[in-house]
């Protein structure tokens, strides 16, 4: 067993295989709530614990996949580029909405964490919970927080956002498709955007635009907070 798991191939094969199977199951069953990332993570952790395989063995191959985070972050420029006309058209509304969203994300995590008595490491790890995963990981590193906790909080945020969006936006009487899409993308990134796609074309475009703009704004705000010594 040791000989099989202590290789690069083990981690890569396990990750590719699971992601493929879960994505296939998602398409076959048309269950949109199925999250291949979250399910793969849970199943891999279960396999490692149950089969008593050391985490380091999985990471031999895992780190190869992990090293693609750089290029994955770089290509996030493409959806932003594709929505450039929409961005120019609604620049003031987008700027206002995103700044309100990013400020409330950071302040609410810090405030709520202190109310609920979370330790500092946990608080820092939750700060980028509304940011798209590759940039969320960068923010987590900037804050010297824990990547693993940040990622789990990002996925859970996406699922929450996609579930509550129709009800919450109705309750707040939000009627404009630009406001709907922007708020979904800014709060619950790509996972929430799946819900925005069901709502309509403008909602979908605004949501995918909001992902990049909100993420970059968060990075900027965190840099300012750190340079000023506020956090």
């Amino acid at each position: 067993m040791e000989n099989i798991t202590n290789t690069h191939l083990f981690g890569i094969l396990l990750t590719v295989g699971l992601f493929y199977l879960i994505t296939l199951a998602k398409h076959r069953s048309r269950q949109n709530w199925l999250n291949p990332l979250l399910l793969s993570v849970i199943i891999i952790i279960c396999i490692l614990i149950l089969a008593d395989i050391p985490y380091e063995h999985y990471m031999e191959g895992g780190s190869v996949i992990h090293s693609f985070l750089g290029p994955v972050t770089v290509v996030l420029a493409l959806p932003l580029y594709r929505q450039r006309k929409l961005l120019a058209l609604h620049k003031y509304s987008i700027m206002g909405g995103i700044i309100a969203g990013v400020a409330s994300a950071i302040l609410s995590v810090i405030g709520l964490s202190r109310i609920f008595g979370l330790n500092e490491m946990l608080e820092r790890s939750l700060v980028p919970h509304s940011v798209t995963t590759p940039i969320g990981i960068s923010v987590s590193n900037m804050l010297k927080a824990t990547q693993g906790i940040t990622i789990i909080s990002i996925i859970i945020t996406g699922i929450i956002g996609a579930s509550i969006a129709p009800l919450l936006l109705k309750f707040l009487r939000i009627k404009h498709p630009v406001a709907k899409g922007l708020s979904i993308g800014a709060s619950s990134h790509a996972v929430g955007t799946t819900k925005a796609i069901e709502m309509g074309e403008t909602e979908a475009a605004m949501s995918s635009l909001a992902i990049g703009v909100a993420a970059l704004t968060t990075v900027l705000v965190v840099i300012i907070m750190q340079v000023m010594g506020w956090y």
């Binding site: 992601f19 291949p36 990332l37 793969s40 993570v41 985490y55 999985y58 990471m59 996949i65 992990h66 693609f68 290029p71 994955v72 770089v74 290509v75 996030l76 420029a77 493409l78 959806p79 580029y81 450039r84 609604h90 509304s93 206002g96 909405g97 995103i98 700044i99 309100a100 969203g101 409330s104 994300a105 609410s108 709520l112 790890s125 919970h129 509304s130 995963t133 590759p134 940039i135 990981i137 824990t146 693993g148 906790i149 990622i151 789990i152 945020t157 929450i160 509550i164 919450l168 936006l169 707040l172 939000i174 009627k175 406001a179 709907k180 708020s183 800014a186 790509a190 970059l216 750190q226």
Partner: protein, 122 residues
């Protein structure tokens, strides 16, 4: 061959971003500098969308795959969560509601103000 060529371009931009961040001592993480660099190259027309499209879309559509190892790393850092599972979930839940509400209400306010202003001109 197309995929390799596109991957080569994307990785080169990634490397350029890392080098710029490191040697200019930017507080911006390398990959994000790379992302901004790619955006500038696309906007200025130096790089055409079709020169990276296929590889970039593959990565974007299957983004979750690349985060699996980072997600699995929660198994060595779960100690920080111990005893705070429910509290952490509540922080994320309430914060998500607040972010969505703040963004939606502010954007709607800006749009309404804009429409009112344009209305007066007509």
């Amino acid at each position: 061959m197309k995929i390799f060529k596109q991957l080569f371009i994307i990785l080169s931009i990634n490397l350029a971003g890392d080098l710029i961040s490191r040697y200019l001592h930017l507080p911006l993480p390398g990959p994000i500098t790379g992302m901004l660099l790619l955006l500038v190259l696309l906007l200025t027309g130096v790089l055409k969308e079709r020169q990276i499209r296929d590889t970039a879309d593959f990565m974007l559509q299957n983004m979750g795959f690349f985060f699996i190892p980072a997600g699995v790393s929660v198994m060595i850092s779960y100690q920080a969560l111990k005893g705070f599972y429910l509290e952490s979930f509540l922080v994320v839940l309430i914060s998500t509601i607040l972010v969505m509400s703040a963004t939606a209400l502010t954007t709607q306010l800006f749009i309404n103000l804009n429409e009112k202003k344009n209305g007066k001109h007509n």
